[in-house]
Amino acid sequence: MANPLTLMLPIIPGTSVATLSGVLEQYVPQLYAGLESVGTVHYARAIFLDTSKANLLPTGIFSNGPFVIAIITEYDGDFDTYIEDFVSAIGDVFNAVLPYVVGGAALVPVANNVSAFQAFLAQNDASQQPPNNVALAESYTATVQQILAALPGSAATSTASPVPNA
């Protein structure tokens, strides 16, 4: 059974769209690669919201903000239990983004502040806040790894842990 994460990161007012675009352009590929490496994330996307608009939709370079960056995923298992693994995989992304997030700078580097970072994620996860904390609609119950194992061509999957010298 998958679980939802709908992480809403409020950006410090006055941060320009150009600045945020630059950060996202640089780090979103790393975010996606890191999430994929953990092996529990079905899908993930980072989206940019403009809170000055009624429908929250940004209008490109003409957006004024304040902004919210939303990171939305569906993942297997218990996120909290794997928090150190996530930090190991994508901590650098958050180290780059959090200085632009309200209340985020104090958490950097996240690897030294894992408990506080974990609490911050919980506080900003819209999925955990009533009335959003309802069960996820799901079309299947298989885990990411079960799906990969069942797919044709799964032989392409890495077979060894990426441990140095292992």
Partner: protein, 479 residues
């Protein structure tokens, strides 16, 4: 990452050194008066008043007659004067404690293993403040004489809830008759092991910060607490009393070997990942054989895609759900990161009389000791709740041998036979064979729990600096 310089004299010895002794006694203590308790801690650090000095990780030229370490629960630290604000900086699991229902459900301490059933006063976590541990080489008289000194010294400061003895069995066996004490993580910067005891593994060294606060860990970050005096060179441990049902285990082997189509000793090896003489299935897959030299016993990995003969991605030789593979998957691809991030140091010894199959008895016997780590949450609890209790932590991985179809995901089931809850309705151990989607597998199912938790506590092992800090609390302004 270069090895850090560790001040061994500031580290409680059991964290970084195996004492290799035959006798141990663990005192479960409640602080009844904080000022004399602090004074006792100070006396232990200095070896004052005829007390043995707290054993550090510093090198010794003559092996000591006894070894002493002390650890505190969160309730114990609070009683000594550590503030709630400071305690809030400690590991989340440590703050929660071993007897909390959250912890118990997470690590499988349920049913007969539930904290409410624990012995020796451990059921009431709030009254468990400290564990004082004494190890001696092999002389019971030394154990008793040092015990008498300790009891005289802590009287009036602590009340003794219980004391628990342990003793080594011949050939480092445990009650299930497996040779133990083979595999331990190699910690960066730790004192080197003596050659005759060394069983090097084929794994990366584990960063120091996985076992000591204040050093870089595998994430990489640094675990720390406040105040700083309690941080660097301190560690945590899960103290556990694990009762082993030896008669039940032997009966399990006989009953379920037929289910798997193998003999009882092979099933024993499949359950553990090692033959009972210590030989790993990975290196000796087809029979116990003569015991390998120490330097080979632990020198293996599970995945070698460049060499089909050495590869065991699918767990054909050593089941992916075997005890040693669950608790240290080595280079098996697993969800999260890799095994280096979740290692523990084991310092446990058997307790109770050795089981004699010719004269079966109901005596209590098992393992008692510490599982040491710098993060109870990310190491002991992760390992216990995920790798021991689940079968979904393995990444999709076919083996490199085109003649042996399969995928690692389909070749693990149930929980660890030794450390799982193992409800007969769902208990399962997969004995893997070649075949797509697990078609070649056999499974042993329907067995019961064989190891019952009889006690536990989450404890903090302060550095020597930290112990001095605790000893001085109440006499100087706190930091």
């Amino acid at each position: 990452m270069p090895d850090p310089a560790i001040d061994y004299g500031d580290v409680q010895g059991t964290i970084l050194r195996g004492y290799r002794v035959d006798l141990a006694r663990h005192f479960i203590l409640t602080i009844t008066a904080a000022p004399p308790a602090r004074a006792f801690i100070g006396a232990l650090v200095d070896g004052a008043g005829g007390l043995p000095r707290i054993t550090t990780a510093a090198r010794w030229t003559v092996k000591p007659k006894c070894f002493v370490n002390v650890a505190f629960t969160a309730a114990g630290l609070a009683t000594l004067g550590v503030t709630s604000q400071q305690l809030a900086t400690f590991d989340a699991g440590f703050q929660r404690g071993a007897t909390s229902s959250t912890t118990a459900n997470m690590v499988g301490d349920v049913g007969t293993s539930a904290p409410a059933n624990w012995i020796g006063g451990l059921a009431n976590g709030a009254q468990v403040h400290a564990i004082l541990s004494l190890w001696v080489d092999d002389d019971p008289a030394v154990l008793e004489s040092v015990t008498a000194k300790l009891r005289a010294a802590f009287a009036g400061a602590f009340s003794e809830l219980s004391a628990h003895d342990a003793h080594a069995l011949p050939d480092n066996k445990v009650h299930f008759d497996y040779r133990d004490s083979i595999a331990q993580p190699t910690v960066m910067g730790a004192p080197p092991r003596k050659a005759k005891h060394n069983a090097p593994d084929d794994q990366p060294q584990v960063p120091t910060g996985e076992f000591l606060l204040g050093y870089t860990n595998a994430t990489p970050g640094v675990y720390s607490v406040q105040p700083s005096q309690l941080s660097t060179n301190s560690s945590y441990a899960a103290f556990r009393i694990l009762e082993q049902d030896v008669a039940g285990f032997e009966a399990f082997l006989v009953q379920y070997a037929a289910q798997a189509g193998i003999d009882a000793e092979t099933l024993a090896a499949k359950v553990c990942g090692r033959w009972r003489n210590g030989n790993p299935l990975e290196l000796v897959p087809s029979g116990p054989a003569p015991v390998l030299p120490n330097d080979q016993l632990n020198d293996f990995t599970y995945v070698d895609t460049t060499n089909v003969a050495d590869d065991d991605t699918l767990g054909i030789k050593c089941p992916i759900g075997s005890h040693i593979r669950r608790n240290n998957p080595r280079n098996q691809a697993i969800i999260g990161t890799n095994s280096t991030h979740h290692r523990i140091v084991r310092r446990a010894m058997p307790y109770g009389p050795r089981y004699d199959a010719k004269q079966p008895d109901n005596a209590k016997r098992g393992l008692i000791g510490y599982f040491i780590n710098a993060s109870i949450t990310n190491q002991f609890e992760f390992l216990t709740s995920q790798w021991n209790q689940l079968a979904t932590f393995v990444k999709s991985a076919p083996g490199p041998d085109p003649s042996c179809a399969g995928n690692a995901v389909f070749n693990i089931s149930g929980q660890d036979v030794f450390l799982g809850v193992n409800d007969p309705a769902s208990s399962s151990l997969t004995v893997a064979g070649c075949g797509a989607n697990g078609a070649g597998n056999k499974a042993v199912t329907g067995f019961s729990r064989l190891v019952t938790t009889r006690g536990g506590a989450y404890v903090f092992l302060p550095s020597i600096t930290g112990l001095r800090y605790l000893a001085a609390l109440g006499t100087t302004p706190t930091g």
